[in-house]
């Protein structure tokens, strides 16, 4: 399962000193970077409204396996010109038409894969030492940004539903803030229990005034 998570150890210098001296278990989970979907202490990263003194602890995205339906669709689309060619009798083949089908299938494959990649890239969850931010990019005409300060968080729950979710250790994290309905959802997160532990320890450290 290690190749699925593409785990790499990060340089300990990337971890800010105030976190290194904390006696909490969450820091052990933040020593590994996993292929774009779990990035602890990322460099040159910012978001709208980030304060200068604010440290980004973790950037999360959906597990790359969520891109598999798109990969399958692209593969089918690329096969389309070959299917059309094989169905047309060689005597009545219109090569200009077949070439246009070939171009269209390439065009749609590129569009589909790039759109899925952009959606994956900008559907991002950010945990800082002051707040959690959830940026959702649903479609070309709908994107949403939700944030909650750490001191307003009351409850963190995670849910793993289904065979694949349990096999691949992927789940959804729900963050409940004071007085409101749970609005922050980290969807398709790899190792949600670790993320829950990171958030809980951060909240506790914040309450103790350690960060």
């Amino acid at each position: 399962m290690l190749f699925l998570s593409m785990e790499r150890t990060i340089d300990s210098k990337c971890i800010p000193r105030k976190f290194r001296k904390l006696d909490k278990t969450f820091i052990n989970h933040l020593k590994y970077r996993r292929g774009g979907f779990f990035e602890p202490f990322p460099k040159n990263t910012s978001f709208l409204g980030k304060e200068d003194s604010e440290n980004i602890v973790l950037v999360l995205r959906r597990h790359w396996l969520s891109l598999i339906p798109t990969i399958v669709s692209v593969f089918v689309l690329l096969l389309l010109p070959f299917i059309v060619t094989s169905l047309t009798p060689s005597e009545s083949r219109n090569y200009a038409f077949l070439f246009s089908v070939f171009l269209i299938s390439i065009l749609l494959s590129i569009s589909l894969s790039l759109f899925a990649y952009v959606k994956w890239f900008y559907n991002v969850n950010i945990i800082t030492d002051k707040r959690v931010v959830d940026i959702d990019f649903y479609s070309l005409f709908f994107h949403k940004m939700t944030e909650a300060r750490l001191d307003k968080i009351e409850d963190i729950t995670f849910k793993q539903v289904g065979v694949f979710a349990n096999m691949l250790d992927v789940g959804t994290i729900y963050i409940q803030t004071a007085g409101t309905k749970s609005e922050i959802e980290f969807d398709g997160i790899h190792k949600p229990k670790e993320v829950q532990d990171i958030l809980s320890d951060l909240l506790q450290s914040k309450k103790e005034g350690a960060i």
Partner: protein, 89 residues
């Protein structure tokens, strides 16, 4: 074999009285609309990425912007080529 070709040639032809309609050019219209729609969505994606790069900045954000610009150019050229071959066919 000639019979098969004749059947295939007449497959998309409708005859009303003395007037004959060929359905092939009509079938090309939704494909051309799909291509125009795709080009339009590429343009919207480019504008959306420009907004999102202001919302969230990462090391790869500049790369993403360049990829989307390249995608817009490729989409434009491929759409033109596909339409040309579709009209010629």
């Amino acid at each position: 074999m000639e019979e098969i070709n004749e059947i295939l040639n007449n497959l998309y032809t409708i005859q009303i009285g003395t007037i004959e309609f060929n359905l092939i050019p009509l079938l090309k219209i939704p494909v051309i609309l799909l291509l125009i729609g795709n080009l339009f969505s590429a343009l919207i994606l480019y504008l959306r990425v420009r907004i999102l790069t202001d919302t969230f900045v990462m090391e790869d954000s500049k790369k993403m912007k360049s990829i989307v610009v390249l995608y817009l150019i490729v989409t434009f050229l491929l759409t033109l080529a596909a339409m040309l071959f579709l009209i010629l066919s």
